[in-house]
């Protein structure tokens, strides 16, 4: 009987599915293929070569912005995750209180407010703070990325908490555990997959974000995506393809890790 409702049997389904996948992956495939081009064209294939990868690795600027991107993502995702854990606990491990849904929405602000709006708002605020304090360090980027990462860290942690039986914590306190001990020995170990997933997702989001960084960064604070954006205003060589391909590979590693962690449920 279920076969009668199989969407795959609807006319045109196969064609639409194929078209969707082509649109999704063909441009990326072209980008990746031309990163291995021996020539410098984006449209004519001159044979296989790893020269653009070698060029990318040798490029001091690429190295600098990559390292900056990675540590920024690590710090922002780390702090966001640390903040997301208590936020998730406070919105799931309490009896329902008025305004609970409101708080949930407020925590997820970055998911609702257009990124460009947040970017402009940050630009104005950061400029004001810079004028008044004279501080021009990485603090602004760290703060902006952290705030932006919080919902992405919060959602998987909250999802994990919702599947955890609160009776376990009750059992721990029944067995003489203080609230801190119950968290340390029961909630936290069982929350690890959620925390790891939250960190991974936050990391990837920080790594990918362009708009926020573009508006907040000071001179010499380019991340990999803003550097790439800057380079595109000049001549595009397959070196950019190579950098993009490596960036894609790195993102894929984290996204895959995220899926593996969230799939495996204790």
């Amino acid at each position: 009987m279920a076969r009668a409702y199989d969407v795959r049997r609807l006319p045109g389904f196969g064609a639409i599915a194929l078209l969707t996948f082509v649109l999704l992956y063909l441009p990326i495939l072209v980008l990746v293929v031309f990163s291995f081009n021996a020539g410098s064209s984006q449209s004519e294939w001159d044979g296989f070569s790893l020269q653009w990868y070698a060029a990318a690795f040798a490029n001091q600027q690429v190295q600098d912005v990559s390292i900056r991107s990675l540590w920024l993502a690590a710090v922002a995702a780390g702090v966001a995750t640390a903040l997301a854990v208590p936020a998730a606990l406070a919105t799931t491990r309490v009896s329902r209180f008025p305004g609970q849904t409101m708080i949930y929405a407020l925590i997820n602000q970055p998911l609702m407010v257009p990124e460009i709006v947040t970017g402009i708002a940050l630009l104005i605020c950061v400029a004001w703070v810079k004028v008044n304090t004279g501080y021009t360090g990485m603090g602004y980027l760290v703060a902006a990325h952290t705030a932006f990462c919080i919902p992405f860290a919060y959602l998987p942690i909250r999802a994990r908490l919702e599947t955890l039986d609160p009776t376990l914590e009750r059992a721990a306190s029944d067995l003489y555990a203080s609230p801190v001990q119950a968290f340390r020995f029961i909630t936290l170990p069982l929350l690890v997959p959620g925390i790891a997933a939250g960190f991974m997702l936050g990391f990837v989001i920080s790594l990918d974000t362009v708009v926020i960084t573009e508006f907040v960064k000071s001179a010499g604070q380019d991340t990999l995506p803003t550097y790439m954006l800057g380079q595109l205003r000049r001549i595009i060589t397959p070196e950019m393809n190579a950098i993009a391909t490596l960036f894609l590979a790195l993102s894929l590693v984290f996204v895959t890790a995220f899926f593996l962690i969230t799939r495996k449920r204790g």
Binding site: D165, L168, R170, A171, D174, L175, A177, L190, G266
Partner: protein
């Protein structure tokens, strides 16, 4: 009886204003040390709320709760000498069986050697030595039940609370665990407070039972008292099977009343305390299905028409209609290959002395 748990004037109201729900009303209860005490009632009667208040998961709205003489109403669950076996066991999934059992002692800060010794002793007590290194997901439901028991007993609580712990087990395993629980209780001497909605389980296991309904204790007594002298119609109906007969009163003398049975004969019935009907008034009397004996119609106390007979092996249930049309179920024990009366035939019933009892409606 040394009191272990003393509850006085305990009430619990959930919510406020128009949405307020009174879960427990004026509970007075004393559980003795070493007693197997059961809270019995249908779902929603407040038995689990009462258990959760003894454990410390809920705070009473009013009243006092003492354990071993100490007022615990303001204390958290981790500050009470009480452990719980949860309905779904609530075993810690990331810990082994041995780590689960040792958790309470570890939290109490006992030395490692003592924890290990007690864990080994508990594993032996519940016959789970071979499973010490397994995770809860790697053992069966019955085994999880034993681990949950061992975990709750390991810290040697003064009181063990059991929240319908057998409801998830199949019949055979449930019977096995019932005797297992009785054995553990007599071996450890710990006071057990057991919550169940299964009246048979309550009758077979308990020293005393509190029958609850709508947030109140209707009757508190031994299984024998509750079965044979139910306080009111609800208790009589909830515990075992009962025939309710509406019968007119002829005379009252002290705690006994003479009632007219369908067909004209009379019988003596026991009156509960505080019930004094006047002659001419009708009362509700109860008679258990096994308390009437099947005889030949001549010389019987009552005669009845057979509507149907259901054969159960050990006994046969006869669905009868009395002379005045009231239905009656009689349980005849099959002491041999006895003939089953045909539907439509007339049978006689005799009543043993003192079996008829008036109940409060």
């Amino acid at each position: 009886m040394t009191p272990e748990i003393e509850i006085t004037g305990l009430s619990k109201v959930f919510g406020q204003g128009a949405a307020a729900f009174r879960a427990l009303t004026d509970i007075d209860l004393t559980v003795g040390t070493g007693e197997f005490f059961t809270l019995l009632g249908p779902s929603g009667c407040g038995k689990t709320t009462l258990l959760r208040m003894i454990a410390g998961f809920e705070a009473p709205t009013t009243g006092s709760l003492r354990i071993n003489g100490d007022e615990v109403a303001g204390k958290g669950p981790n500050a009470r000498p009480v452990n719980t076996v949860f309905q779904n066991y609530a075993l810690f999934p990331h810990m082994t069986v041995a780590q689960n059992i040792g958790f309470g002692l570890k939290m109490l800060g006992r030395p490692r050697a003592e924890v290990d010794t007690t864990v080994a002793e508990m594993l032996r007590l519940v016959r789970m030595e071979a499973m010490a290194g397994r995770k809860p997901s790697e053992i069966s439901g019955g085994q999880q039940q034993r681990v949950a028991l061992a975990r709750a007993l390991a810290p040697r609580p003064r009181v063990l609370l059991l929240d319908e712990p057998l409801s998830a087990l199949d019949l055979k395993l449930r019977k096995e665990m019932q005797s297992e629980l009785k054995r553990l209780q007599s071996e450890t001497g710990i006071t057990f407070v057991f919550v169940t909605h299964d009246q048979e389980e309550a009758l077979t296991m308990s020293d005393r039972i509190a029958v609850m309904s709508a947030g109140r204790i209707l009757q508190l007594g031994t299984p024998h008292d509750i079965y044979h002298a139910p306080a009111d119609r609800f208790v009589a109906d909830f515990i075992g099977d009962t025939n309710f007969l509406t019968l007119p009163v002829i005379a009252v003398s002290g705690a006994r009343a003479t009632l007219t049975l369908p067909g004209g004969q009379t019988a003596e019935a026991i009156l509960p305390d505080g019930v004094a009907p006047t002659p001419g008034q009708s009362v509700t009397a109860i008679l258990r299905p096994e308390q009437a004996i099947l005889t030949e119609p001549p010389g019987a106390t009552l005669t009845a028409t057979v509507r149907s007979a259901v054969f159960f092996g050990t006994d046969t249930h006869l669905h009868l209609t009395l002379g005045d049309g009231q239905p009656f179920v009689l349980r005849r024990q099959n002491t041999g290959d006895l003939p089953v009366p045909e539907p439509g035939s007339i049978v006689g019933l005799t009543l043993g002395p003192g079996v008829l009892r008036v109940v409060r409606d």
